[in-house]
């Protein structure tokens, strides 16, 4: 057989080149354009560092970098501190109502973060429900706005990621490892800290990176609940809006700095996790046991409390969506007015929320399967390039990508800004790395010998791939696709840059309604969004049949 790893211009070679071309056009070109904007003075055309100097010299801008770091690190650590023990408890103990808790955790993580932010404002804000009740009985709580609020919302939003990752990793720990540690006199909490956590450390590092990236790039939460506490994406967004009205280059410079920061964090994480990588494989995974009488109630209390707090915002939003409104103010009594307004005014956005992600999803699944195949089975310099290119969006914050696409494609011959196409492309680029990663992981678990068996039985390579490998991957791919879909329908930070009246999505609609103070309509819309999410997850569960989900 010819060497599989050498580049040849066959079908797969052609696909490799096509993938590279697409990435060059839709990712590298706009990013390069953005970088050019950041260093070229638009009036004189001269190269200038003024934009960077402006950012770095004025603490008004520069401090946002620190703020973002503080917020992201705090959210990451807290998410790890909550998500990991919870995953452990879920793996070793039988907990009543666990399956419902599982779904609630996922629902909590899948909602758009800013919905959490605005719901917490309604609960704990200056005139929030809880704040008022507590005030009446003489307790004043610290303000929810600023650092604490952002961290609270982000943590509750993102700890489920850690939870899901850790739960997956815990499945791979062989029970005998735990038994061995108990046999050597290390059990309970000590065993958790000294055996379990180190074993799942590679996964925790990966989850930590994901949480950091998400919180660093999150735009909606600090925008709504941050008030004076301005983070990086907020400055980026506001400067970009300014930029449209004439101020040039500066937003681009901020975007470039944002990418630089995320790149450094990404590489640092890779460096650390490469040093700590090892693989686990459990013949006998840990079994769920009934907790001992004494600790049973603690286990249940902890689990229910955390999940409860995580879903409060969702529940409260759903509740308010059925409240009667007068103009912008909630009044007593219940009605469906908010829904009527929502469907009447913004029915189009519901449509968009279905169409845009569906289009993106089809492309993503096809590309992900094909690229995963290239990366795993056809390693060469060019497929490596595809692999690396496909990972770039992982470190590009959504807002930055939105700006890059908008700037890159707003004049002929590449005029697609304002169309639905650019929204679809943005979603594809943003979501593809995750789907590729999961497809790669699935494909790596399928031993090459299965394909070889098919080939030795007379199937061509293409046939072996499509008849044997793809069907074997399909369950995993489908599950991944549904998760991608759920993340895409709640996407805000890119859409907020790219949308026009015609391509407004639900999340954008919720955001704009919240900003305008139409809380009733916003609540109705986000309830619809939650409903879509829950239905999607139920479909996911059907296909995934009790297996773990990975993001």
């Amino acid at each position: 057989m010819k060497n599989n790893n050498k580049f040849r211009l066959d079908v797969w070679g052609f696909i490799t080149l096509a993938a590279i071309a697409l990435y060059l056009l839709f990712l590298i070109y706009p990013m390069a354009y953005l970088m050019k904007q950041s260093v070229v003075d638009s009036e004189t055309g001269a190269i200038t560092m003024a934009n960077f100097a402006k950012f770095l010299s004025k603490s008004y801008y520069f401090d946002t970098l620190f703020n973002s770091f503080k917020v992201s690190i705090a959210a990451t650590l807290l998410s790890l501190a909550i998500g990991t023990p919870l995953a452990y408890l879920f793996s070793v103990f039988k907990i009543k109502g666990k399956s419902i808790l599982n779904i609630l955790i996922i629902v909590a993580s899948m909602s758009a973060p800013f919905i959490g932010a605005y719901s917490w404002i309604l609960l704990l804000g200056r005139s929030g429900v809880v704040t008022k009740i507590l005030k009446n009985i003489g307790i004043t709580i610290p303000p929810i706005y600023g650092f604490a609020g952002i961290v609270l919302v982000m943590t509750l939003q993102l700890f489920p990621l850690v939870f899901l990752y850790a739960k997956g990793a815990l499945k791979n720990i062989d029970n005998s490892l735990i038994e061995a540690s108990e046999n050597l006199g290390c059990s309970g909490f000590r065993c958790f800290m000294r055996v379990v956590v180190p074993l799942i450390m590679p996964t925790l590092l990966a989850a930590g990176l994901l949480v950091f990236m998400r919180s660093f790039a999150d735009f909606g939460t600090p925008m709504l609940i941050g008030e004076g506490y301005r983070t990086f994406p907020v400055v980026l967004y506001t400067e970009f809006i300014n930029e449209v009205s004439g101020n040039d280059g500066f937003a681009a410079a901020i975007a470039v700095i944002a990418i630089a920061v995320t790149t450094v964090v990404f590489l640092a994480q890779k460096y650390v996790s490469n040093k700590k990588s090892f693989s686990l494989n459990a013949l006998h995974p840990m079994e769920e046991k009934n907790p001992r009488k004494g600790i049973s109630w603690i286990v249940h209390l902890f689990s229910y409390l955390i999940v409860g707090v995580a879903v409060i915002p969702q529940c409260y939003v759903i509740y308010t969506s059925f409240k009667k409104t007068e103009g912008k103010i909630f009044t007593s009594g219940y009605s469906l007015d908010s829904y009527i307004t929502a469907f009447g005014k913004l029915g189009k956005s519901i449509q968009n929320t279905i169409i845009i992600p569906v289009l993106a999803l089809i492309v993503i699944v096809i590309l992900a399967v094909v690229i995963a195949y290239l990366v795993v089975r056809r390693r060469n310099a060019l497929t490596n390039a595809v692999d690396i290119l496909s990972m770039i969006p992982y470190i590009v914050p959504g807002t930055v990508l939105g700006i890059a696409l908008l700037n890159g494609f707003n004049k002929k011959p590449l005029l697609i800004s304002g169309t639905m196409l650019i929204m679809v492309i943005a979603l594809i680029i943003r979501r593809l790395p995750y789907t590729i990663r999961s497809s790669v992981a699935i494909l790596q678990q399928i031993p090459m010998s299965i394909e070889e068996a098919a080939i030795s039985l007379g199937a061509s390579k293409m046939k072996a791939f499509f008849r044997i490998t793809v069907p074997m991957m399909s369950a995993g791919i489908l599950a991944g696709a549904i998760l991608s879909w759920v993340t895409m329908i709640s996407e805000l930070s890119t859409a907020i840059i790219l949308y026009t009246g015609k391509t407004k999505t639900l999340t954008v609609a919720v955001y704009t309604e919240v900003v305008r103070g139409n809380y009733g309509t916003a609540a109705a819309l986000s309830t619809i969004l939650t409903f879509l999410t829950v239905v999607s997850l139920l479909v996911f569960n059907r296909f995934n049949k009790g297996k773990d989900l990975s993001l």
Binding site: M1, S449, I450, E452, A453, I455, S456, S460, I468
Partner: protein
């Protein structure tokens, strides 16, 4: 059915040569085993025959057709993988029928052939199940049926028994052996387990570092190994330094044994390979290598002795257990050898002097 000729085959990974210039002839219908320690290149060679590894030099021929550049799917090979590589998304029947479908066999013939091999491998009752509901041994049977149903020219098996437990391994060993003989298919079998190789093979090729050390029947390989590596790798043996002089082996403490095959051998230092059962322990004899019993292990049928020679070397000896318990640690004994069985190698250990002598006589 085919014979396989491997001529000057070379395998390189980059600059690293894994197999330098390997030659072998595998006869039509025989079960040919590649045996060697892990990393010796046996699986690499098998995958070169299968077409999953590229060939950097030389030729591989089925009958007289060169297959070096033939696509694996065109070689008409049946392959059984170490992990069986059963398609988990297809039922047992569809797994077995997969190769026939690729060959566009008609519907009726497809069913008849599939049934035949499902029955042959005794997995008919699982035909409509999914593979993940079956045990390792049953999956192995599917893998065999799937490989055989296409009537391949050659059957390749890559450590097919290594994932089974000891009892199933014995059972599947005889299943493979019988099936192979019934079907009469040329088979290349890879294993690192010498007992398995002895039990199953017509011919064994012992490999080390990408080089075939010895090709022969199990009996030849055990009784007349070509070099010290083969002698020590197959079965257990004691290697003892000695000299050859005038057709006699002279051991260090003066014990001499006359060996016909060494009649024309020049005077030289040699290494004797004496298997544990090739010693005779004498208590009262005058002649023999002097030794002291260090310990013994009673195993029912046999008793194993560890005996220290005068120069401090230890030898292992196996004797049929006797009714009395008469050899105790510390006892002095004389060791004689069964001279027609032992092997004598030159000092470098790469030539068997007894073997070459025998050949001269023939």
């Amino acid at each position: 059915m085919s014979k396989i000729s491997i001529r000057n085959a070379v395998k390189k990974y980059g600059e690293n040569t894994v197999i330098p210039q390997l030659n072998a002839e595998i006869k039509d219908g025989e079960l040919f085993t590649l045996l060697g320690p892990s990393g010796c290149g046996k699986t690499t060679l098998l995958r070169m025959i299968a077409g999953f590894n590229s060939i950097e030099g030389g030729d591989i021929l089925f009958n007289n057709t060169r297959i070096n550049d033939m696509d694996p799917s065109k070689r008409n090979i049946g392959m059984v993988f170490q992990n069986y590589a059963i398609f988990p998304n297809l039922s047992v029947r569809d797994n077995v029928a997969f190769g026939l479908k690729n060959r566009k066999v008609g519907k009726e013939a497809l069913k008849a052939e599939t049934d035949k091999y499902l029955n042959l491998m005794q997995i008919m009752q699982y035909a409509n199940r999914m593979p993940n509901q079956l045990s390792g041994g049953q999956q192995q049977r599917i893998a065999l049926a799937r490989a055989l149903v296409i009537i391949p020219d050659v059957l390749l098996m890559d450590e097919p028994l290594s994932n089974l437990d000891a009892k199933l391994r014995l059972e599947m060993r005889s299943v493979i052996r019988h099936t192979q003989k019934d079907v009469g298919i040329t088979t290349v079998y890879v294993t690192h387990d010498q007992e398995e190789a002895m039990a199953i093979s017509d011919t064994i090729a012992v490999m080390k570092d990408g080089v075939i050390q010895h090709v022969g029947t199990p009996r030849e390989i055990y009784q007349r190994p070509e070099n010290v590596f083969v002698a020590t790798f197959i079965g257990r043996t004691n290697i003892i330094e000695a000299k050859v002089e005038a057709g006699k082996i002279v051991f260090k403490d003066g014990y001499q044994v006359e060996v016909d095959a060494l009649r024309n051998t020049e005077k030289q230092e040699v290494l004797c390979s004496i298997r544990p059962e090739e010693f005779v322990i004498c208590k009262d004899s005058e002649a023999g290598i002097r030794g002291t019993v260090k310990e013994f292990t009673y195993l029912g049928l046999n008793t194993h002795y560890s005996i220290e020679l005068e120069d401090g070397d230890n030898v292992e000896i196996v004797e049929e257990s006797s009714i009395q318990e008469d050899l105790q640690p510390g006892q002095k004994v004389m060791l004689q050898v069964k001279k027609e069985k032992i092997n004598v190698f030159n000092k470098q250990g790469d030539t068997n002097l007894v073997r070459s002598g025998l050949y001269e006589e023939q």
